[in-house]
């Protein structure tokens, strides 16, 4: 299947500031892609261009084969902005009804109930936005983005206002979306979250992609640790393939081996290595 989102050589300038300097990103069907980077790296700009909120200065973005910003592209995506608000006088059901109409969704009341249950707000149908906590509003925002079951979801910091239980709900939701085959571009500062749920990670810094790959590809090996009777022995340059030889050598030398660990760097280590902060 062709990728749902393709950005090629994407550039954006705000006056003299170059927010994006030739970014290439692809999101395949059913893939969860995490977008990481420091503040001002260009992540939100990339997402906004994909939504049609911001015009690119160069390069191209297509959503489900249509140019970003076109009506057909907007039909194919759901979006949760980093900073968003719904009118305080609307209740959750009215917000979703409005977006159902705008998205031409025929899901009706059943879809609204399902979405509110999916984001953990089953009892908030008639709760006015003004009476909701920031976390509840953020979950309502995610439900709004899911209206009409778009094939691509663009989530810009969807868990920034959520408590740990809210984050767990969103993680579960992302797993459910993966099961349904929905593609997600997740822009987040929470590396552990991205590491847990994303199939592919793109790290952006100063408007450029500085690292990309699956979390496993990005996490490189950091040596081998062996627990022996005389204590932990570290072999920082050793790799997984060296483990049988190391164990043989240690046993031959009279050591009792209890445990062997292949040490891998975390995504956070990789992030800090490639990002110039």
């Amino acid at each position: 299947m062709p990728p749902v989102l393709v950005a090629k050589g994407l550039e954006k300038r705000y006056g003299r500031v170059r927010a994006l300097a030739g970014v290439d990103v692809e999101v395949d069907a059913g893939q969860l892609v995490g977008l990481l980077g420091p503040n001002g790296a260009g992540k939100s700009t990339l997402v906004k261009i994909a939504c049609g909120l911001v015009r690119a200065s160069g390069g191209a973005v297509t959503v489900a084969g249509s140019p970003a910003g076109s009506t057909s592209a907007r039909r194919s995506l759901g979006y949760l902005a980093e900073l968003f608000r719904f009118p305080g006088w609307m209740d959750a059901d009215e917000v979703l009804t409005l977006h159902q109409r705008l998205a031409s969704s025929r899901g009706g009341a059943a879809e609204r109930v399902e979405l509110l249950e999916l984001v953990g707000l089953p009892d908030a149908r008639k709760t006015r936005v003004a009476a909701m906590s920031k976390g509840m509003q953020q979950r309502l925002g995610i439900a709004q983005a899911l209206v009409g079951s778009p094939p691509l979801l663009l989530l810009d910091e969807p868990t920034s206002a959520l408590d740990p239980s809210g984050r767990r709900i969103v993680r579960g939701l992302l797993e459910e979306l993966r099961r349904r085959g929905t593609s997600v571009l997740l822009n987040s500062h929470l590396l552990s979250e991205v590491e847990l749920v994303c199939d592919h990670v793109v790290i952006v810094d100063h408007g450029r992609v500085v690292a990309a790959g699956t979390p496993d590809e990005l996490r490189h090996q950091g040596g081998v640790e062996v627990e022996t009777r005389s204590g932990t022995r570290r072999f920082p340059d050793a790799r997984r393939a060296d483990v049988p030889r190391l164990v043989r050598e240690l046993v031959a030398a009279g050591e009792d081996v209890f445990e062997v660990r292949v040490v891998k760097s975390s995504l956070e280590d990789v992030y800090l290595e490639v990002v110039d902060e």
Partner: protein
């Protein structure tokens, strides 16, 4: 499109400010009824012997109705500005606009719907207040404008033009700056009308010429003056002369070309706003 128009209408009507306007309008209408009653009573003893060509009821009725027209225009303009001043930049800064813009509805329809919502509410408000003042004037002194429908329609048209300027301004300016700017433009238009009235009184063609140019730049004033003109369109003689020089801008016949220009002006302002909004980063 219907969904977003209904959203715009509800957004306009849900504002607390709208409730405040309704309360203040009720107060204004009560005071207007009291004042109009007193004006008719006092003016009947005002016309002395030899001044029979000046019908006191026409004089009092036309003047108080003219004042009511100004008040209605002012209230309607302020309402329309407050309902539309944040349509683009204000709502974008608040994060209200982005979830709507990414939907397939499109920016043009969104802007048009918000304009229809704000301008529609303000126009209905103006028509209601105008109708109330006409009814009160008739109740208090038995006087009715020579034309009843068209002055109200033109007054509503003037408010719609002001709303269009506020919507266009909202693409470029933050809400407070846009509100202040649009109300200053509104004030400038009315001031130009007053200038024309002074020019008419002192026979200064230069001032009258300036006022006519201002009509083309601010056609809401042309609509307002033409609506005043229609209140006493059939009145002649000395009464006509007195009533032409109203206290808040004179009554003048605008003519069909000016009315057509007001409609074209709306289209031009709307097209400019759409063009700017379509390329604006949010």
């Amino acid at each position: 499109m219907t969904a977003i128009v209904l959203y715009g209408l509800r957004e306009s009507l849900r504002r607390k400010m709208f409730a405040v306007v309704l309360v203040l309008t009720a107060g204004f209408l009560a005071l207007y009824a009291w004042g109009t009653h007193a004006a008719f009573r006092d003016t009947r003893s005002f016309v002395g012997p030899g001044q029979e060509q000046l019908d006191p009821d026409v004089l009092a009725g036309a003047i108080v109705q003219g004042l009511a027209m100004f008040a209605t225009l002012f209230l309607g303009a302020v309402l329309s500005v407050f309902l539309t001043l944040n349509v683009v930049r204000g709502d974008a800064e608040a994060g209200l606009l982005q979830p709507l813009v990414v939907r397939p509805v499109g920016r043009a329809q969104l802007l048009l719907a918000r304009f229809v919502g704000g301008a529609g509410v303000a126009a209905v408000y103006v028509l209601a207040v105008y109708a109330a003042t006409v009814a009160i004037t008739r109740w208090a002194g038995g006087w009715t404008p020579d034309r009843v429908i068209s002055p109200g329609v033109e007054l509503a048209g003037a408010v719609i033009v002001v709303a269009a300027l506020a919507v266009a301004g909202s693409v470029f300016f933050a809400p407070i700056a846009n509100g202040i700017g649009t109300l200053m433009v509104f004030g400038a238009g009315l001031t130009a009308g007053l200038l024309g009235e002074i020019g008419h009184a002192i026979h200064s063609q230069k001032l009258e010429h300036i006022a006519r140019i201002a009509w083309w730049v601010f056609p809401f004033d042309a609509l307002y003056e033409d609506s005043l003109h229609r209140l006493t369109i059939d009145t002649t003689g000395f009464a006509e002369f007195v009533l032409t020089l109203g206290p808040f801008g004179g009554s003048h016949h605008a003519g069909a070309p000016m009315l057509a220009w007001a409609a074209a002006y709306l289209v031009i302002v709307g097209a400019a706003a759409l063009a700017a909004f379509s390329v604006r980063d949010l």
